[in-house]
């Protein structure tokens, strides 16, 4: 009986956080979310403490991921990255992460920009919007499907939806390892 109760509590907790919708963050929380600590090379690092206190809300929360998808369209990400296939910008769908797949790296890429044309969005988006977008971008290159990830758009279909883990389906290493110069394949 105690086990059943415990299980019910776990289910309820995960359910709550997966579907919760925080429409507007408290300003101090939003401010704290901006304080990531990045490695000196600009790749990887630690998210702010509050990110863990909030139970990593931008990776597994359905509403945030869905908002990220809308921000992806609204801020014109597809003009360089297409629907994840890449164009003038790198692809996400190939499951290859130039700066690593961690949330902080993606967050930093969006907020501060990257060399060779990735602009900085720190003055165009709020911190929590950048987190939402980063979470969404991570799902495009995901290898395991997340049930909280968004599904297809009401558009022409160009690739499997995010909740089908498109990278796992589309990643193609080719006849020889493609990125041998950059380390092991993912």
């Amino acid at each position: 009986m105690r086990f059943v109760l415990l299980l019910a509590c776990i289910v309820m907790l995960s359910g709550c956080e997966r579907e919760e919708r925080q429409l507007r963050l408290d300003p101090p929380v939003a401010d704290a979310l901006n304080k990531i600590r990045l490695m000196p090379i600009g790749i990887a690092g630690a998210p702010p403490e509050i990110y863990f206190a909030l139970h990593r809300p931008y990776e597994a929360n359905a509403y945030n991921l869905n908002q990220g998808k809308r921000l992806y369209a609204w801020f014109g990400c597809s003009s360089c990255h297409a629907d994840g296939q890449g164009g003038t910008g790198p692809s996400f769908l190939d499951g290859w992460w130039l700066y690593g797949p961690e949330m902080v790296s993606i967050f930093a890429s969006i907020r501060d920009g990257r060399p060779h044309g990735m602009p900085a969005f720190r003055d165009k988006m709020t911190a929590d919007q950048i987190w939402q977008l980063a979470g969404y971008v991570q799902t495009i290159g995901a290898y395991s499907a997340r049930t909280a990830a968004p599904s297809r758009n009401d558009d022409k279909q160009t690739r499997p939806a995010e909740n089908r883990a498109p990278a796992a389906i589309l990643f193609d290493q080719g006849p020889s390892p493609v990125h041998a110069d950059q380390g092991p394949t993912p």
């Binding site: 289910v11 309820m12 359910g15 709550c16 997966r18 579907e19 919760e20 919708r21 429409l23 359905a62 509403y63 991921l65 869905n66 908002q67 049930t147 909280a148 968004p150 599904s151 297809r152 758009n153 009401d154 558009d155 022409k156 279909q157 499997p160 939806a161 909740n163 089908r164």
Partner: protein, 638 residues
């Protein structure tokens, strides 16, 4: 095996007398005591009682949601409930009331009453009946647990795409709605099939088609409506889940899908749904009117024909929910005409009831009060129905509180009032105790006055432009006063329902014992004890007219020749109800419960992963094999 081929002397009811017969039958039809006995029973009365009770629990929960909405809307810019929670609350209120209360409670009344009214011992396919209850319960629990987890659907009770589709319906909220539909569909379809077979093949000998009680007629037609309407919504909800989960394109115009397809599929079910709720209520009204007017109902044939006409027309007017979607003119005109045409059978029925009351000697007991409340309220709701059937008017009031007022008038006035009357009427049959007449009158007036004060001003709010589904409004809009009035009146309405619940709970324990037929009613359910024994009738009644207990007041003609050592009932011919065969009726079984659990796991799992459809059916199949496996009981013989 050889033992059973010799029929022992004490196996025919013709050879045993009175108390001994009842004891043997009670043993054959018994529900085992204890927890597992309760889970495995197939007695239609126990299952019907559970169904009714569960549906009323959902009514109370839905009512609490309604009161929360009224609290929030009582003042402008109220901060009680946020927008997101409010979206969930109005969706839950609608979905809960339509799918977990209104349809199941009518089916539940039929599960309890139809076998008694046609004079048989159990409903057809009793194990399917048990299964349908568990599925219904599971669907309701899923919806409410999801709501408690902040995962309740938030897309309106009809979940239009693209709002509920993959792009805009974030998370699993819309899937919960769609899968709840699947649960209630499965249970409603199961009950409908049982009722059709019970009415067609298990009527008491002599109960020809023109002697069927009107409530049974109405449930027969309702069951056909369910069988024909529900597949549409099943396709709709399944394709919605497919769109959302595996990225099909049924509702994606860019890939050749169609957004409007959703509305057609939904309302092709959704409009008959209104009559699925209303027709049983009509049957109850006809039953109650006859009993309390102390005369046969006026225009039996006209009433049956009106039921059938409503049932057929119900499938020809779904598009009037879609007048503002920009349909071709001809289509709009056609559906305006058909929507107005449905007023004809409704009018015929109203005239028949008034004529019955006019010519009879009406006894104004609580059930009849609810019938009269129904006639008044339903006529008002019907009039606004004719108004919104016209395209120009509908275009003005679409998605405003006018529509909210209209459908609460027809649903509460048209279905809940007769249902409450029906509960007061059949409560002594179900519990063996009377509900309080004094509290009943209070309940009626509180509900009737509270209802009209709550919902009539909503017409005006709608005409003033207040949209549906808003979680708050600005103070400078002219809606404040009326909204406060509506919210206050809703408290009166709620107190009426509270009184009803208190009365029902109290009377079930300490109400005055009723005896078999407290109302001197004419139909067969009153020919047995209250509450009825597990076998319903010690001997199957034989029917010579429409009102058996009025026509044969002293002793009812009965048939014998059934075996008593196994569950057996009479199968009769469809039209003339001539006895055709003795048929066995399945014993209690735990397998419907396990089958329901396995189905529940499959359905909920399939919200999250398509693999559920591959692996989930295996335990379902195992449960079904257990269900149908021969147990070497006498019932297996034929």
């Amino acid at each position: 095996m050889t033992m059973e081929s010799v029929v022992p002397p004490e196996t025919s009811d013709a050879e045993i007398e009175g108390p001994r017969l009842e004891a043997v039958l009670a043993d054959t039809w018994a529900t085992a005591p204890g927890f597992w006995g309760a889970l495995s029973t197939v007695d239609h009365k126990i299952i019907g009682r559970r169904y009714i009770l569960t549906a009323f629990v959902f009514l109370a929960l839905g009512g609490i949601l309604a009161m929360l909405m009224r609290l929030q809307l009582a003042a402008p810019e109220a901060r009680l409930i946020g927008a997101d929670r409010y979206n969930q609350i109005f969706t839950m209120h609608g979905a809960n009331m339509m799918f977990l209360f209104a349809v199941p409670v009518m089916e539940a009344m039929a599960v309890y009453l139809v076998p008694l009214m046609v004079g048989t011992r159990n409903i057809a396919f009793p194990r399917l009946n048990a299964f349908s209850y568990w599925i219904y319960l599971a669907g309701g629990l899923m919806l409410w647990i999801a709501f408690a987890l902040d995962m309740g659907p938030d897309v309106g009770w009809f979940a239009y795409v693209p709002l509920s589709g993959p792009q805009y319906g974030a998370g699993k909220r819309a899937d919960i709605w769609a899968q709840m539909i699947t649960f209630t569909e499965v249970s409603a379809l199961a009950v409908s099939v049982e009722i059709v077979v019970t009415v067609f093949k298990q009527r008491a000998p002599g109960m020809t088609l023109d002697r069927i009680p009107l409530f049974v007629w109405s449930m027969l037609i309702t069951s056909f409506l369910v069988i024909m309407a529900m597949p549409a919504i099943m396709i709709a909800s399944s394709t919605l889940i497919l769109d959302r989960l595996v990225g099909t394109h049924f509702y994606n115009p860019a890939e050749g899908g169609d957004v409007l397809l959703w509305q057609h599929l939904f309302w092709f079910f959704g409009h008959p749904e209104v009559y699925i709720i209303f027709l049983p209520a009509v049957g109850m009204v006809s039953t109650l009117t006859a009993t309390f007017a102390r005369r046969p109902v006026f225009g039996y044939l006209a009433l049956v024909m009106a039921l059938i006409a409503t049932g057929i027309l119900a499938f020809g007017l779904w598009v009037h929910h879609m007048f503002v979607t920009g349909l071709p003119r001809l289509g709009e005109s056609f559906f305006t005409a058909s929507s107005m045409a449905i007023a004809i059978p409704a009018g015929v029925q109203i005239f028949c009831w008034i004529a019955t009351l006019w010519d009879g000697k009406p006894q104004f007991k609580t059930p009849l009060l609810f019938v009269i409340g129904f006639i008044v309220t339903f006529v008002i709701g019907g009039l606004t129905g004719v108004m919104v059937a016209s395209v120009p008017f509908d275009t003005q009031v679409h998605d405003t509180y006018f529509v909210v007022a209209h459908f609460h008038y027809v649903l509460i006035g048209g279905a809940v009032f007769p249902l409450l009357g029906g509960i007061y009427y059949w409560f002594p049959k179900i519990t063996g105790r009377m509900m309080s007449e004094r509290l009943g009158i209070w309940t009626f007036w509180l509900i009737f006055i509270g209802f009209n004060l709550t919902f009539f001003p909503m017409h005006i709010l709608g005409l003033e432009g207040m949209p549906r589904r808003i979680y708050t409004y600005q103070p400078d809009l002219p809606w404040h006063g009326l909204n406060l009035f509506v919210s206050t009146s809703a408290a009166i309405l709620a107190s009426g329902f509270l009184l009803f619940f208190i009365d029902a709970l109290r009377s079930a324990r300490v109400g005055e014992p009723s005896g078999p037929n407290p109302w001197h009613a004419p139909t067969l359910e009153w020919a047995t004890a209250s509450p009825p024994p597990s076998y319903n009738f010690a001997r199957i009644p034989v029917v010579n007219g429409r009102y058996s207990l009025w026509e044969q007041p002293n002793e009812l003609a009965v048939a014998d020749g059934l075996r008593v050592d196994r569950r057996e009932l009479v199968v009769t011919s469809l039209a003339a109800a001539d006895p055709e065969a003795r048929e066995s009726s399945p014993r209690n079984s735990i397998w419907p419960f396990w089958a329901a659990i396995a189905t529940t796991v499959t359905l909920i799992w399939s919200i999250f992963s398509p693999w559920a459809v591959v692996w989930g059916p295996i335990p379902v199949a195992v449960a079904l094999i257990g269900w149908f496996w021969p147990k070497r009981v006498p019932e297996d013989e034929a």
